[in-house]
Amino acid sequence: MTGSVASVSAGAFERITRRRGRVRGRRQTSWALVALFVGPSLALYVLFMIVPFIGTLQLSLSAWDGFAPEKTPVGLANYQALLGDEDFWRALSNNVVWAVIGTAAPIAIGLALAIVLWSGAGFRTGFRAIYFLPVILPVVVIGLVWGWIYNPLFGVLNTALEAVGLDDWSRGWLGDPDTALVAVLIAAIWSTFGFCVVMFLAGLQGIDLNLVDAAKVDGANAWQRFRHVLLPGIAPVFTFVLTITLVGAFSVFDIVYVMTRGGPGTATETMAGYAYKMAFNRNFAGYGSAISMVIAIISLVLAVALLRFRERGRTR
């Protein structure tokens, strides 16, 4: 009895050991696969995102001119200084304007055009390519082209206005503090809406047409079908596009720099442009880093808030 028990136990142990060995082997294999697939991208992410982020954070807590070998720790002094810096608040307010108009406009235009294309408009592929073209153009090119359009000496906008008798409306669009920010924003919207079109169109193509037909049968009008069928259907894409454009609005730099350098005066200065000027033109690298951290924090908060908003919508 004892012997049989012992032999059964030994057999069971052997089977268990073999099974555990296979499980361990599978686990080892899966960890190796994880390391193989995730490792390189993780390493790159750490190297080019996390390390610079930590470096910027450290810099933001120091006084450094960008040249001296030593950096003087100053705690939160740079952040405290930001609170009383009128130029920073002006730049932030420009970013807020940018976030509102620069997010709403391309999304609205992009969504409308995507729906038109999705509804069966002809030459869908051609239009999609045309709309997407500005997205692949370098920002410098976009800035230069729109700069020519707005040029007070030979720009087509003023020429067109004068041709139709609206001489009083013609002006140096980028040199007038009342119009410069909007003028740059229009160029930015032009460069962004194509991205929204393509993303929304991709989202719309994933919607089950039976749902739309069912809504029609139930008597839903166009707005109701959009509000209760299409919009929920593209909610993940919508949140993604909203997040990308909103975060981009708070870190915008290149197109402003190319078109106005933040001018006239500080009329189109944004936080990123102000950070650049502080860090590289005025040699306040620590202060510039603090501004960069503020941009990062705002972007992070917005991104997390939007994602949580989306998740909450899903659970409902």
């Binding site: 001119d65 960008g66 040249f67 001296a68 070998p69 700069g147 707005y150 040029n151 007070p152 000496l153 002006r171 140096g172 669009w173 980028l174 040199g175 007038d176 503090p177 106005t260 350098r261 933040g262 001018g263 006239p264 005066g265 500080t266 000027k277 590289f280 033109n281 005025r282 040699n283």
Partner: protein, 459 residues
């Protein structure tokens, strides 16, 4: 082409030596081709200098601001190639970048030991900062070894905390180029007073021609215009007092200098419409196309103007304001620095010596780049364009005394002050702020910089 007399250029340079002290702003290419000639003890023959080259091939990296005119930049590259061909042991790799880009990457590149030689402004906002950080090599031994005869005033601009740290670039002046054909058609002479200047501009405006092609979209050109009016009103001594902190930047004279150019001229319609939206290049193009009678800028543009115009061009300094002396802003157009951590300092010094040689000056600096050296030079036999000759003559005529030169302010003032100049003058042009408010803001920035030890100290 006129032949440039050795006497005239030596006189100009000697006078500039006494009076100068500035150059173009940081946003402008500062050193397409560094300094020009020297008549000292340095080796005159490029082949001879090769004999003193370090053993083994050495590559030195030279970072400079890119030239505004692509053709001139190509010529600068060809000049380097000539050095490389004649010096097989030293190969210079010239990297020409937009000046903003240069400022952004320079510190990182130097930190990585990737730069041996670089160009930039000699003022406290650039050279002074690099020197303070210990990033510049001491060039005194090279000056001694090669016998560079740089003017003392120019060397003073390259000296930080007693250490001679750069080789001065060209001498430059800010003034007004004009279309001689247009002037002749109206029988206008070069204006000597502000009233005459206004009369001329009013006449061109009445004809539908832009009187003064001033484009201020990049912001830095305003600093030059301010330098012209303020230099005339307060003279060199008055500017010295402001630069050294003995006199405020928000006094009556400064406000007047701002008011004349940025409010009165703007309201009178002397500029292209909305100058804040007009780029420097577009403003120059207006002049080249004959749509503007004059363009206010510096002598660094002589070569480009010569290349781009098919009419005769003249040059005059900003005229007298209410009986003031004419004190055109003039001085150094940047300098060349050797990185303290360079492993190839000797090779860099040798390259600088080659650039400073008489042969290179006669072949490249004067006739091709139209740059005026910051040291005595024998220019016998050098041919220059009529416009460049006039620039030299103008410098010579207007500089009988040391006090006859003003300063290009932004080269000598700290970064925060310059930033206020650039953004503030746009706002004055727009009418967003008054000249007095801009002057007050300049004074505030100057005080901040002085408290931080960033302003010039009296030698």
């Amino acid at each position: 082409m006129k032949r440039l007399s050795a006497l005239s250029i030596t006189a100009v340079l000697a006078i500039a030596a006494c009076g100068g002290g500035s150059g173009p702003p940081t946003q402008r290419p500062a050193s397409v081709a560094p300094p020009a000639s020297h008549a000292g003890q340095a080796s005159q023959d490029p082949a001879a200098t090769a004999s003193t080259a370090p053993t083994g091939p050495v590559e030195i990296t030279w970072l400079v601001g890119i030239a505004e005119d692509p053709d001139i930049d190509k010529q600068a590259q060809a000049q380097v190639q000539e050095f490389n061909d004649s010096h097989p042991n030293i190969q210079v790799k010239r990297e020409a970048l937009d000046n903003d880009q240069l400022r952004t990457i320079l510190q990182t590149r130097i930190g990585a030991g990737d730069v041996d030689l670089f160009g930039g402004d000699t003022g406290p906002g650039f050279g002074g900062v690099y020197a303070k950080a210990g990033l510049l090599a001491d060039l005194a031994p090279a000056y001694e070894k090669y016998g560079w005869e740089t003017f003392d005033w120019a060397k003073a601009r390259c000296t930080y905390a007693g250490v001679l740290s750069c080789v001065p670039g060209a001498v430059e002046e800010v003034g007004i180029y004009y279309n001689k054909t247009m002037f002749d058609e109206k029988s206008f002479e070069e204006p000597q007073t502000l009233e005459e200047f206004r009369t001329i501009m009013d006449a061109f405006k009445a004809d539908g021609v832009t009187p003064l092609a001033f484009g201020n979209q990049p912001q830095w050109p305003a600093g030059h215009q301010f330098s012209m009016t303020l230099s005339n009103i307060v003279g060199r001594e008055g500017l010295d007092e402001k630069l050294y902190g003995d006199s405020p930047w928000n006094d009556e004279d400064t406000v007047k200098a701002i008011d004349i150019y940025f409010r009165e001229f703007q309201e009178a319609g002397y500029f292209p419409r909305d100058p804040n939206a007009v780029t420097y290049e577009d403003a120059n193009a207006l002049f080249y196309a004959g749509k503007a009678a004059m363009v206010p800028t510096g002598t660094w543009l002589v070569a480009e103007i010569t290349d781009n115009t098919d009419f005769e061009v003249g040059f005059f300094p900003f005229p007298s304001i209410d009986g003031s002396k004419i004190a055109p802003p003039a001085g150094l157009g940047g300098g060349s620095f050797v990185a303290a951590n360079s492993d190839n300092k000797d090779a860099a010094f040798e390259f600088l010596d080659w650039l400073l040689s008489d042969e290179v000056t006669k072949k490249w600096s004067l006739p091709v780049f139209n740059t005026i050296p910051a040291q005595p030079v024998d220019t016998t036999g050098v041919e220059v364009s009529p416009l460049f000759q006039q620039v030299l003559d103008d410098l010579a005529e207007s500089s009988g005394e040391t006090s006859d030169f003003g300063y290009n302010i932004d080269v000598l003032t700290p970064a925060g002050f310059n930033e206020q100049m650039f953004t503030g003058f746009q706002e004055v042009l727009n009418g967003t702020i008054t000249p007095q408010e801009q002057a007050d803001a300049l004074q505030e920035e100057y005080q901040k910089a002085k408290a931080a030890g960033e302003t010039l100290e009296r030698p």
